[in-house]
Structure formats: structure tokens, C-alpha cells
């Protein structure tokens, strides 16, 4: 009698008694997922604010070739972001942003390859791919720094206001590309994303260091690489949306 009773408690384990993991993922991974969900809300807030303000401003209605920047209407992004380093004065719309998108996608791929290597306990491969991911992240940040400085410095012609004052470049008060809010949104959205990339690079460097000194070999698994990988892919995901809603539309 007593034997069967003890067997029963073992097989019919109480679901609320602990020790079960219905999501079949580790605590750290689940927490990273929910952090990313909350972060997705923050980015949605920023991007929806962009849509909201854009809808409350007049759109440019004339032919695209005759586009001139003005405070009276929202600019066409591809007419604003048309510069590429070392090619001064050449009109190459969105090319540089496209390049930045490719860099980030590639660094995302090297990150999954690092995760794949981690699952095989291959320290050399993880080291190699983590290093490439860090290089990609730094390259993206460098591009963004150039993009910002170009946006702040502005074009040579600038914008002539109705009272004859010439405005060059953009900051949080004045903006030669359109309504001042356009520049504020540019700084906030790409800046918030850039901050995420920067902290992602920092996390990657910490993980890279731990991989090199063999922390995860001692621990027996490379799950930290997967968790930081989730964050890194999320940064790539956000950029995909920023690229569409800020630069394309």
C-alpha cells in the first residue's frame, strides 16, 4: 500500500509544486525575451510618435524633382539623406543608410554563427564569430556618427528663411531640412537605437572576453552567448523598422 502511494506522488507531480518549466526555456532567456518585449514597446512609442507628428503636418505635394526643403511641410527623407562619405556633392539617396542596414544584418548573421558554435562547445569558432560581430557593431556606430555629423553640419546652400536668414544644418532648435520636429525625431529615434547598439557592443565585448578566458567551457554551456545574441538580433530588428518608417516612407 505504502509503496504504491509513493509511486503515485512521483508520477503525478503537482503542477503547482515547482520544478516544472512550461516554457521549456531557461530563466535568463525568458527574462531577456520579456525585456525585449518592453523595449519593443519603447521603440514603438518613438516610431508611432513619428507617424503621429507626420500625419499632423502637411505633406510635400509638388513633383519630387522640384523638392525644396521648407519649414512648411514634412520633407521627403530620400531627398535629405543622400550623402555618402568621400563622395562630396554627389546625389546618392539612401545609399549610405542601405549600407548601414547591410552591415547590421551581416553582424546579426555572425552572431547566430557564434551561437551555433557555442552549442557545439567550439571555443575557437565562438571567439572568431563574436569578434566579427563586434567589428560589425563598431562599423555601424562609425557610420552613424558620420551620418549625425553630416546631418548636424548641413548642406552648403542651407535653407533661406522668409526673413533672409540662412539656416545650415540641424539641431534641436532649428533645422534646414524641414520642421524642427523632423530633426528632433531623427536625433531621438536614431540616437536611442544607436545607444542600444553601443550597449550591445559593450555586452558583446564582455561576452567575448569571457569566451576567450574560457569561462563558459568551465560552466559547461555557452548560454550567455545566446542571451546576448537575442539582444543583438533585436537591435537589428529595430533598425529594419527604423529604416522603413524613417528613411523609406
Amino acid at each position: 500500500m505504502e509503496v504504491t502511494a509513493s509511486v503515485d506522488t512521483e508520477t503525478q507531480k503537482n503542477i503547482w509544486g515547482g520544478g516544472t518549466s512550461p516554457l521549456k526555456a531557461s530563466y535568463g532567456k525568458i527574462m531577456m525575451w520579456f525585456f525585449l518585449l518592453s523595449d519593443a514597446f519603447t521603440f514603438s512609442g518613438l516610431l508611432i510618435t513619428y507617424g503621429f507628428l507626420r500625419y499632423s503636418y502637411p505633406a510635400y505635394t509638388g513633383p519630387a524633382d522640384a523638392f525644396r526643403t521648407s519649414q512648411d511641410y514634412w520633407p521627403i527623407p530620400e531627398k535629405i539623406f543622400d550623402a555618402v562619405p568621400f563622395l562630396h556633392g554627389v546625389h546618392l539617396p539612401l545609399l549610405f543608410v542601405g549600407l548601414m542596414t547591410f552591415i547590421l544584418i551581416l553582424s546579426s548573421v555572425t552572431m547566430v554563427l557564434a551561437v551555433e558554435a557555442g552549442q557545439r562547445m567550439d571555443r575557437n569558432d565562438v571567439t572568431k564569430w563574436m569578434l566579427w560581430t563586434i567589428v560589425g557593431g563598431l562599423a555601424f556606430l562609425g557610420c552613424q556618427a558620420w551620418e549625425w555629423s553630416h546631418f548636424i553640419a548641413g548642406t552648403e546652400e542651407g535653407m533661406v528663411l522668409s526673413n533672409g536668414v540662412i539656416v545650415n544644418g540641424a539641431n534641436l532648435q532649428i533645422n534646414e531640412y524641414g520642421p524642427p520636429l523632423f530633426a528632433s525625431l531623427f536625433f531621438f529615434i536614431t540616437g536611442f537605437h544607436g545607444t542600444h547598439v553601443a550597449s550591445g557592443v559593450l555586452l558583446n565585448v564582455i561576452i567575448f572576453y569571457n569566451v576567450v578566458v574560457g569561462t563558459y567551457d568551465k560552466r559547461g554551456h555557452y548560454e550567455m552567448v545566446e542571451k546576448v545574441g537575442l539582444y543583438w538580433h533585436f537591435v537589428d530588428l529595430v533598425w529594419v523598422f527604423v529604416f522603413t518608417f524613417f528613411y523609406l516612407i
Partner: protein
């Protein structure tokens, strides 16, 4: 003396790695298509719908394959995806609000 950890390194999963590069290629091609669309098609809601559709395709690949969400249990997938409904509501609400402000001002 430093403790030596014996680790068994498994060989590269060639099939998996090939698949990952294939997805990267798809993402790159979609970005290139968006880029071409921006300069060849007239601006309007149809073009914007195309951009949003392609963006969602890219997002699907990144989340399902790179972030591995497709291979998690259903409960986890839904607990991440369902809250996004709030975002959709916010988009609808604020775009309508922005339109009303435009009407009131201009």
C-alpha cells in the same frame, strides 16, 4: 595549478550554417528590393503598403530564425506576440489623432 577543463567539441552543423547564410541572403535581397522600389514606384499608399509588407517579412525571418522563436514552445511564442496587439492599437489611435490635428490646423 590551473584546472584544465576537458571539453568535447562537436563538428560544424553544415546544414544549419548554410540555412543561416541563406536567410541572410534573403534579408539582403529584400532590402535591395525596397531600395529599388523607393526610386522606381510613385509615392503613395500602395508603395507604403509594399514597404510595410516587406518589413514584416524581414521581421518574421529575424525573429523566427535568428532569434529562434519559431522553435520555442507555443506558450512562449504567444506570450511574446500577443502583447504586440497593444502596439497595433496605438498605431491606429495616434495616426487617426494626427490626421485630426492636421484637419484642425490646416
Amino acid at each position: 595549478m590551473e584546472q584544465v577543463v576537458a571539453v568535447e567539441v562537436k563538428p560544424v552543423n553544415k546544414k544549419k550554417v548554410k540555412k543561416l547564410w541563406k536567410i541572410a541572403l534573403i534579408l539582403g535581397i529584400i532590402t535591395a528590393i525596397e531600395f529599388v522600389m523607393a526610386f522606381t514606384l510613385p509615392r503613395g499608399s500602395l508603395l507604403y503598403a509594399g514597404f510595410i509588407g516587406l518589413t514584416l517579412v524581414k521581421a518574421f525571418y529575424i525573429v523566427s530564425e535568428f532569434m529562434h522563436l519559431k522553435y520555442e514552445v507555443k506558450a512562449l511564442i504567444w506570450s511574446i506576440l500577443l502583447p504586440i496587439i497593444f502596439v497595433i492599437w496605438l498605431i491606429v489611435a495616434l495616426l487617426a489623432e494626427g490626421g485630426s490635428i492636421f484637419k484642425a490646423l490646416y
